[in-house]
Symmetry: C2
Subunit: 280 residues, 2 copies
């Protein structure tokens, strides 16, 4: 099967999938989304992704939606596309209505999905780790809601690429390290793993939660706490976590070598632990 799209029940090849120009997702970024990865033909963490999607819609006061129906449609679309290793993208917008900032009355949400093969990273990326830059966190104040307000993330990612790096790490103007442009961030320092606590400033990552859970299981000391750029630079290990990212070691930040410049054992163990969860 080709890569497929779904628009409000209609399934087509992706290039034929269209939405109205007055979809609020298009004119206001008034839309939420999820990306679900499959491994071996099975969608991973589907409960967690749909729970977060539901929360995102509630936080934005979207009209009531039958999340179970969307979940079933997503599973059906994935089955139809028949890929072992795919990313299912689900975007729900507040609906179609003549342009006006105020919430429209009695307008149904728009449900759009795509299924695409996941292009695996070059093995060298996971074997040697990646380089990153830090950028000022200039995103909006509700990064805990997974919306398409992603232009700052786009600009940060491109800035990293232009600098010959793989990703950008957002740092607040007070120096607090937040997360990557599409991933959460962990550091290992003084034998303790640290990651930013859940606040409106970061995404409540599903892989982040899995990694925290694996740390508990393995009795790794771990703390959800704030840390600043100097602690980031001085860490023994740094890694990003995310649905597509998995656990990805960072070996250089702003040109400074992290730890000994090689991928660290915590990252390796947690990546193995994460992939181990797929078999459960």
């Amino acid at each position: 099967m080709p890569e497929l799209a779904y628009v409000n029940g209609r399934i087509t090849p992706i290039e034929d999938a269209l939405v109205p120009v007055e979809d609020r997702g298009y004119q206001f970024g008034d839309a939420v989304y999820e990306v679900i990865a499959s491994y071996g033909g099975k969608l991973f963490c589907i409960d967690e992704h749909f729970a977060r999607l539901d929360r995102s819609m509630k936080e934005l006061r979207f009209p009531k939606v039958q999340v179970d129906e969307i979940r079933k449609a997503a599973a059906d679309l994935f089955t139809k596309a028949d890929f072992d290793r795919a990313g299912v993208y689900i975007q729900i917008s507040r609906g179609v209505s003549p342009r006006n900032h105020a919430f429209p009355a009695n307008v149904p949400v728009q449900v759009v999905m795509t299924v695409r093969k996941i292009e695996e990273k070059k093995p060298s990326v996971r074997e040697t780790g990646i380089c990153a830059i830090t950028v000022e966190d200039f995103r909006w104040g509700r990064c805990d809601i997974k919306t398409v307000q992603l232009l700052p993330n786009v600009l940060a990612k491109q800035k990293a690429l232009d600098a010959g790096c793989y990703d950008a790490i957002f740092v607040s103007n007070e120096g607090i390290v937040r997360e990557g442009s599409s991933s959460n961030l962990f550091i290992l320092t003084g034998g303790v793993l640290k990651t930013h606590p859940l606040t409106p400033d970061i995404l409540p990552g599903i892989t982040r939660a899995l990694v925290l859970d694996i740390c508990l299981e393995k009795k790794y000391p771990v703390k959800e706490c704030f840390f600043d750029k100097s602690e980031l630079y001085g860490s023994d290990e740094v890694f990003l976590t995310g649905t597509i990212t998995e656990v990805l070691p960072v070996i250089k930040i702003d040109g400074r070598t992290v730890g000994n410049g090689k991928i660290g054992s915590a990252a390796i163990t947690l990546q193995e632990g994460l992939l181990g969860r797929l078999k459960k």
Copy 2:
């Protein structure tokens, strides 16, 4: 003629105008826009709007675009729709490409326009002024670029409506008064008009610039400077400015009466001055 849309050269009724689901405007909010108003069948400040559109695209490093051609297409669409009093909405996105944060290579921008009749505000709104609330400015850090990163503006506007008010005024977490949810803001205090200076935190409004120019012409003392919420509350007059808003007096903020609770003479004079410019 009906209200019309334009998508990359194709003109249709608005409800038939569609864009691909992988338009970056839809999945990342990676798009800029303008709204141009017409009076008496003539587009107002078209040079200024296209100059700002061009700047927005340059700031975001969009692929090179023939702005003059888009301008001609906008004028043609407006002529075809044949309204005296219309809003021409122009949105340009970075293009269509499989979802990936990085800028896509060799992909043309997407140009979408709509022409809709402007629904005039009830006369009472302009005669008696409006009520507003203040909300924390939780927008991203580049509000000077006119992008569709508008979800915070949507949420602020809706919060105002829910509170029985007309609009919301963004105030920074240090207490600096920025602007309305889709307009700039002026205050009159101690005989001086004040408005937020042009920084990345506010939109460089075209009506704002016109109002500043009219102030010069009329020799009104005017200052582009920061002011805080207590100065806002204590003002003799407060008004919003914008393409559709024009000059709109605010008579109550957070339940507190502004000045004597009636629309003020500065706002009245500047609104007259603005409408006077239409005849030039």
